[in-house]
């Protein structure tokens, strides 16, 4: 059934269709309409579990960890400061191997206050051991939530997943979304059935105090499972495609890349804009491609390394900035692409932060800049902020 809705509503429908059993959430712009929609669904009896109003994001995550230990499927939504407040419990969910799924409507971190789209919040949490999936449009938000449960709850994975929608740009934009029917989702997504949960007949301590002699092994086990998740992600994406007719490239999608002179790698809602611009520029004979980073965690390093043989110049667009270094996705890309033998020329474009629009014209400017770099054979400026009011880039 096709319905026009925001990405926030699509997220709520994703949770409903995944038959989540315990939801705990705390309001924050631009996530709030997810919480509101879930509350409405709960009142109408459309949810299969409990919806609990908590007093903070920290408690939301804590509560879900508790419920997950009993074997309940859990969900929450947050943004920005709320995600930062959760920070401690994000590590906890990972270490405790709780396959919680959370949607983040990404938003700028204060101060000064700014409630708009910006990926600083989620980039800042990329090392907490959560899988991170970025969405390009509202349909992808819904589909990714359903897929995330299947990936996260797999006994070989058992790691939490963060689904990222760009705040406002997706969260408040109405688009057509194909709502799958419940039977198909039930068929696709098995019930959460963890290997270990609280069992009064087999009382265990979930956690424990681990000494240095075993600590590395505990970490290594997670590292291995995160690595193994890559295979699962690709598998689930394919399976989803078979069932619902939509796929998202698994970990990473190469669009117009095969014969490209330059490519731009990016994550989130700007991917669509980049694809559009890439098509239009190709009509004019400019061979530009787009690398859609679907999963930032686990980082699809093997796939990214393919770019070594594909293109001489790679641009990376970041909707956030890590002070003191560069964009987070930029760091990740370099980390992923480069081998001891080197890699392509690479440049970071930083923009679209705090709600500043990143338009097709900006995108075109970026591609032209990359083509110039290809022609000149060198990167003159590793990190460029686009647009800035001092005349760097262009301001529309």
């Amino acid at each position: 059934m096709i319905e026009v809705m925001t990405s926030n509503y699509a997220a709520a429908h994703g949770a409903r269709l995944a038959k989540v059993e315990v939801i705990a959430a705390y309001p924050i712009t631009p996530q709030s309409s997810i919480s509101e929609k879930l509350a409405e669904m709960s009142v109408k009896g459309e949810l299969h579990g409990q919806y609990i109003l908590v007093e903070s994001e920290h408690s939301a995550m804590s509560l879900l960890i508790g419920a997950s230990y009993v074997g309940a499927r859990t969900f929450t939504a947050t943004s920005s400061q709320g995600l930062a407040l959760m920070h401690e419990m994000l590590y906890w969910a990972t270490g405790a191997r709780r396959p919680i799924v959370m949607i983040v409507a990404s938003r700028a971190m204060a101060p000064p206050w700014n409630i708009w789209g910006d990926q600083m919040d989620v980039i800042g949490e990329r090392d907490t051991g959560w899988m991170q999936f970025f969405c390009e449009n509202n349909q992808e938000t819904l589909d990714t939530i359903i897929m995330s449960y299947k990936i996260a709850e797999d006994r070989s994975v058992m790691l939490p997943a963060m689904v990222v929608e760009d705040g406002f740009i997706l969260s408040h934009t109405f688009e057509a979304v194909d709502l799958p029917n419940q039977d198909d989702v039930d068929d696709f997504l098995p019930k959460f059935n963890p290997e270990l949960k609280i069992d009064f007949n087999d009382p265990r301590r979930f956690g424990g105090l681990v000494m240095p002699d075993w600590w590395s092994e505990f970490r290594y086990r997670i590292a291995q499972d995160m690595e193994g998740a890559k295979k699962k992600i690709v598998e689930v994406d394919k399976e989803f495609g078979k069932k619902f007719g939509r796929t998202y490239g698994g970990l990473v999608e190469f669009y117009n890349c095969d014969d490209a002179d330059v490519v731009l790698a990016l994550a989130g809602s700007a991917v669509g804009t980049a694809k559009d611009v890439s098509d239009k520029m190709r009509e004019r004979g400019k061979k530009v491609g787009v690398v859609k980073i679907k999963a930032l965690r686990p980082l699809p390093a093997e796939e990214l390394r393919k770019l070594n043989d594909m293109v001489p110049v790679v641009g990376v667009f970041d909707r956030s900035f890590n002070f003191g270094h560069g964009g987070g996705i930029f760091s990740e890309m370099r980390n992923g692409i480069y081998t001891p033998d080197g890699g392509p020329l690479i440049k970071n474009y930083v923009g679209g932060m705090g709600g500043r629009d990143f338009t097709p014209k900006h995108m075109e400017w970026v591609f032209e800049d990359l083509l110039r770099i290809k022609k000149e054979g060198k990167v003159d400026r590793m990190i460029e902020w686009i647009p800035l009011r001092d005349g760097t880039g262009r301001w529309y």
Partner: protein
């Protein structure tokens, strides 16, 4: 789509998107992401295409501009970016000349306020004109059928669904095609 906080510009853009999708097109609708407060000028956008819409960015060169509150025209340059062959729809009882509109753009007017009040939508001081004005708009943009629009209005209107649908229909009927 230019309006004031509380007039329903955002919901109207959503209704247009819904109707376009019903008629087999692709659409996306979104507000200007600001801090919306009742009464302050707000802008909402709707992008409609036969092909899937992948762009997630604002609209700077619209084909159509809809003005929910003519009082805004002295505050906001509603013509900004409007293509030379673009059309503007204004909620007013005045004429193009009375509004002193120059330039090449086609101007369509509709008394959405009168229609809204007749249908009991809002009050004299704060009429809810969004559904009436999009009724007029689909007359200008026949790729969206009035039936799909009315269905969308009924779906998305938070209250007074029938009154809102009637307002859209009234406006549709009195607006002349251009």
């Amino acid at each position: 789509m230019h309006g004031r906080g509380g007039q329903g510009a955002v919901v109207a853009s959503e209704m247009l998107a819904r109707a376009a999708v019903k008629d087999g097109m692709h659409a996306s609708a979104f507000p200007f992401f600001g801090v919306e407060r009742r009464g302050c000028p707000v802008t909402a956008f709707c992008r409609i295409d036969d092909k899937p819409i992948r762009i997630h960015a604002g609209i700077y060169e619209p084909d159509y501009v809809i003005v929910l509150d003519p009082g805004l025209m002295t505050l906001v340059d509603v013509f900004q970016g409007l293509k030379p062959d673009g059309k503007i729809l204004i909620n007013t009882t005045r004429t193009r000349e009375e509004l002193a509109i120059k330039g090449p753009n086609k101007v369509v007017t509709v008394d959405a306020t009168g229609i809204a009040l007749k249908r009991g939508l809002g009050s004299e001081t704060a009429p809810i004109v969004n559904t009436a004005i999009i009724g007029a708009f689909v007359k200008m943009f026949p790729k969206i059928s009035i039936d799909s629009l009315l269905e969308s209005v009924r779906e998305a209107a938070p209250v007074k669904k029938e009154e809102n649908a009637s307002a859209a229909k009234d406006a549709y009927e009195i607006t002349k095609e251009v």
